[in-house]
């Protein structure tokens, strides 16, 4: 049985130029995600990815359809769902004047558990920054820290909204490793991305969204076989990213 079952999910927002008219930001999305999968949602800006995730996370009212996570209905029991999911939002800000360790203990308080902040920071390789303020972290460190925050309640399902946007290739690969590690330990992961390489490398299955609808779904191989045009006769070797990595090395930059 899938750990996430979404059927016919819909969300309406008022049109920006005419508040009395509404449009479907999400229009009949259905998904079945198996436990232990890494599932990617791709799509251009404004396709409705974040909105779909937020409805599944109980952050946004569901206007139509149902969402079931680990057998719990998000429609009826949003607070209960929040106990079994971890969420990294697309934009992350934290209280300015407390350090990472204290922030993690705040999140532990919010989940009413005794998670060990240092152990969490170790998981995302930030233990040296325990006393740093979130504002003093680099982009990649911030992303890893928000994953640490999302792990406080040892979630069964982890939602990551564009976790690698704005990261350099080292930080990106480092984050992929982290995601794989969490997934190996049994966590189901749902992520959105604009990075095709990321989707291909990391995801077991992918859904492509546009204008609030899912327009394609399958493993990366299936999608490539079905939709990608034939490659040219003499393909180039590698791509620019490989060049960048050869020149700058795989070491993670701080």
């Amino acid at each position: 049985m899938p750990i996430i079952e979404v059927s016919d999910l819909a969300k309406q927002y008022p049109l920006p130029d005419n508040k009395s008219e509404k449009f479907f930001a999400v229009n009949g999305v259905s998904l079945a995600i198996e436990a232990g999968e890494i599932f990617g949602i791709l799509g251009p800006n404004g396709a409705g990815k974040t909105t779909t995730l937020e409805m599944m996370e109980g952050l946004n009212d569901i206007d139509g359809g149902t969402a079931l996570i680990d057998g719990i209905s998000v429609n009826d029991n949003p607070y209960k769902v929040k106990e079994v999911i971890g969420v990294q939002l697309q934009a992350n800000e934290y209280f300015d004047n407390i350090n990472l360790e204290e922030l993690l203990s705040l999140f532990a308080a919010l989940y009413n558990n005794n998670a060990d902040p240092i152990a969490l920071l170790k998981k995302v390789q930030l233990e040296e920054k325990a006393k740093a303020k979130p504002n003093n972290l680099s982009g990649g460190q911030k992303q890893r820290f928000s994953i640490a925050c999302a792990l406080v309640n040892e979630p069964k399902v982890l939602f990551l909204d564009e976790p690698t946007t704005g990261l350099d290739p080292q930080a990106k690969r480092n984050l992929w490793d982290l995601v794989r590690k969490l997934n190996k330990a049994g966590m189901t992961i749902v992520l959105t991305t604009h990075n095709m390489e990321e989707a291909e490398e990391l995801c077991d299955r992918i859904a492509i969204m546009d204008k609030g609808k899912i327009i394609a779904e399958g493993t990366p191989q299936e999608l490539i076989l079905e939709y990608a045009p034939e490659p040219p006769e003499a393909p180039l070797h590698g791509d620019l990213e490989d060049v960048f990595l050869v020149l700058t090395g795989h070491e993670l930059r701080e």
């Binding site: 996370e57 952050l59 946004n60 009212d61 607070y79 209960k80 929040k82 106990e83 969420v87 939002l89 934009a91 992350n92 800000e93 934290y94 209280f95 004047n97 407390i98 204290e102 203990s105 705040l106 999140f107 308080a109 919010l110 989940y111 009413n112 925050c149 999302a150 309640n153």
Partner: protein, 365 residues
């Protein structure tokens, strides 16, 4: 009473708030200046009113009248020539000049004798205070002359150990006002700021319920406001020589209850407002009328009749009245029960409103 979750959250928020020490103490700057200015401006007793008397009558009654005024500590009397006194009046050295007519006594008992009161138009505001005293003085002369015993007499006994200065009246109100402002800003502005930064949304990802969140913020902020007010009270008592006659703990209890009420109200405003500008405007709508109607600067009894019932019911009125009765008259908690009941009612209203208005979905997005 508090759950472990609420205690833990409160301590974390306390740490967050306390880190911001600069603004905690900077926000005391204005109240301190205010209190200092008021205490120096009102440190002296009420100045006596300068009155000039031109006595055109040579009768004993006229002299009696002048002597009675001279004996009254409220007046600083100069007897002299009309021309000179008029000049002094114009120069502002006299508040008014009384001209006693030549026939001051001969008419008594037959017709009314007219005293000419010369005042500077700029001083008319004093007339309301002076005229009753003049009439009073004239009345007692008349009684003496006609040999009538007064039907009533008023014996005024000073029950307070020392005369009350305006600053003593003002301080509890000022404290109440300050605690209202610190509290409403403390919770309201925080909420709007957290929303703007997306922090509320991040918190909403966790299963925390609004009730726990509000309780934790209110308690943590209350601790900060109590520290702020304690600094102010110490400043007032030690440096401005202001006395709190009643029980200190009773005084603090009213402070604590008042703080909680206004923190909850700040929460309501923070939930309604989307921007800092909006919360500023909403805050003023709540704060401004209470500054004028809650008996902070002058007693509610001195306001127009029709507004008094409303004024008495304002949350700040209950808080400031309670604090004032304890500080000035040494009232016990039992004696100020009307204020306490009022505060409790406002607490229930404000807390319920805060939890109703603070919906994560709306406030966090």
């Amino acid at each position: 009473m508090l759950t472990a979750l609420q205690r833990h959250l409160t301590s974390v928020f306390l740490k967050i708030f306390w880190r911001d020490r600069r603004s905690i103490f900077f926000s005391l700057f204005f109240p301190v200046i205010f209190m200092t200015v008021f205490s120096f401006a009102n440190s002296g007793e009420q100045d006596p009113i300068s009155v000039g008397i031109v006595n055109n009558s040579s009768s004993a009654v006229a002299t009696d009248f002048a002597d009675m005024l001279i004996a009254n500590p409220l007046f600083d009397v100069t007897v002299g020539e009309e021309a000179r006194l008029r000049e002094e009046l114009i120069a502002g050295d006299q508040t008014m000049v009384l001209v006693l007519p030549e026939d001051f006594d001969t008419n008594i008992g037959n017709t009314t004798s007219e005293i000419n009161v010369v005042v500077d138009a700029a001083q008319v505001s004093q007339l309301g205070l002076i005229m009753p005293l003049l009439e009073q003085t004239l009345l007692s002369i008349e009684r003496e002359f006609r040999d009538i015993e007064p039907m009533f007499s008023i014996a005024i006994e000073d029950v307070q150990a020392r005369s009350q200065r305006y600053i003593d009246f003002l301080l509890p109100g000022l404290m109440a006002f300050t605690l209202m402002q610190l509290s409403i800003a403390g919770s309201g502005f925080n909420i709007v700021e957290y929303r703007r930064k997306g922090i509320l949304k991040r918190l909403f990802v966790t299963p925390i319920e609004p009730r726990d969140f509000i309780t934790a913020i209110v308690l943590a902020r209350m601790a900060i406001v109590l520290v702020q007010l304690s600094v102010l009270i110490m400043f007032a008592v030690l440096l401005l020589d202001i006395r709190i006659v009643g029980n200190f703990f009773a005084y603090y209890l009213v402070v604590i209850l008042g703080t909680i009420v206004f923190l909850c109200q700040g929460f309501c405003l923070g939930s309604l407002a989307k921007t800092q500008e909006a919360i500023g405007a909403l805050g003023n709508i709540v704060i401004m009328p209470q500054i004028f109607l809650s008996g902070i600067f002058y007693p509610i009894e001195s306001m127009p009749e029709w507004i008094q019932p409303v004024a008495h019911l304002l949350p700040l009125s209950f808080v400031s009245t309670g604090m004032r009765e304890i500080a000035n008259a040494g009232a016990t908690l039992l004696e100020i029960y009307p204020s306490l009941i009022g505060i409790m009612v406002w607490f229930v209203i404000s807390f319920v409103a805060a939890t109703r208005l603070f919906l994560w979905k709306e406030v966090a997005n």
